[in-house]
């Protein structure tokens, strides 16, 4: 297989205090670098969480899981000097037809082997995974007959 290139263009405009990012022909995203906005490092952690959640969804679904929602808290630990040391991914999964142990195994393997963003982090950091399984919400039976 020939190597694939993924290219993004990032530009910083000091006067506007903003970062503009483009990936191929897709609509650009801009980040205003005020105190209230998402920092570039946080954006990287969001990418990791998003990739991990999407891969987890695919792997649980093909195992018969009925997934309502996957949320991931991505927590980075930094040393006093600011260097990143470890990242913990805390998954909360609302699903049926899947057990907690199975979800934990599948997701850990997904982070270790499949997740392409996780692969970039894994080169430099220790990635730890925790999984909490929540049962699917049943539709409320509040409808009353006339």
């Amino acid at each position: 297989m020939s190597p694939e290139k993924i290219e993004v263009k990032v530009s910083f405009k000091p006067e506007e205090d903003a970062i503009l990012a483009r990936a191929g022909g897709k609509p650009p995203i801009s980040l205003k670098l005020s105190d209230q906005s998402i920092a570039p490092l946080e954006l990287a952690l969001i990418s990791l969480g998003a990739c991990a959640a999407l891969d987890a969804y695919k792997l649980l679904s093909i195992r018969g899981g009925l997934v309502d929602e996957i949320s991931v808290d991505v927590v980075m630990e930094r040393s006093g000097g600011g260097a990143a040391r470890a990242v913990e991914l805390r998954f909360a999964i609302r699903a049926d037809r899947v057990g907690r142990r199975e979800a934990e195994e599948v997701i850990t393997r997904s982070i270790e082997k499949y997740c392409s963003v996780g692969e970039l982090f894994r080169e430099a950091l220790e990635l730890d995974v925790k999984v909490r399984l929540l049962k699917k919400r049943r539709p409320s039976s509040s409808a009353s007959s006339p």
Partner: protein, 110 residues
């Protein structure tokens, strides 16, 4: 991790799973049995196959699927062969043998 998907029936049929470990290491399997295509998970259990072990596993042993039929999913951490052997209870000359197809795990999102 190989994942296999097939159909079992304990409803007028008796299903045996044929499990063959193809490597020289133990294989850990997780077997899940559902009601029909989209129904609830009825039973989930683990099996460990010794190196190169061949095992017939009768679903008569799983009480929770008595009278049921549906999807069987087998997740293995090693390369294995999975087959299904179904015998009709009224006419034991009616036998179905099939190989559970392997489902490829999807590529990463990006």
């Amino acid at each position: 991790m190989p994942l296999f998907r097939g159909w079992y029936s304990q409803d007028g049929w008796r299903t045996k799973l044929v499990l063959i470990n193809r490597v020289d290491e133990p294989a850990n399997l997780r077997i899940k049995l559902f009601r029909g295509e989209d129904g609830p998970l009825l039973a989930s259990f683990r099996l460990r196959l010794k190196p190169k072990e061949i095992r017939f596993y009768s679903l008569d042993r799983v009480k929770r699927v008595a009278g049921e039929a549906g999807i069987v999913l087998i997740d293995s951490d090693k390369p294995v062969f999975c087959g299904g052997h179904l015998i009709n209870l009224k006419d034991e000359m009616k036998v179905l043998d099939y190989r559970l197809p392997r489902i490829d795990e999807p590529q990463s999102c990006c």
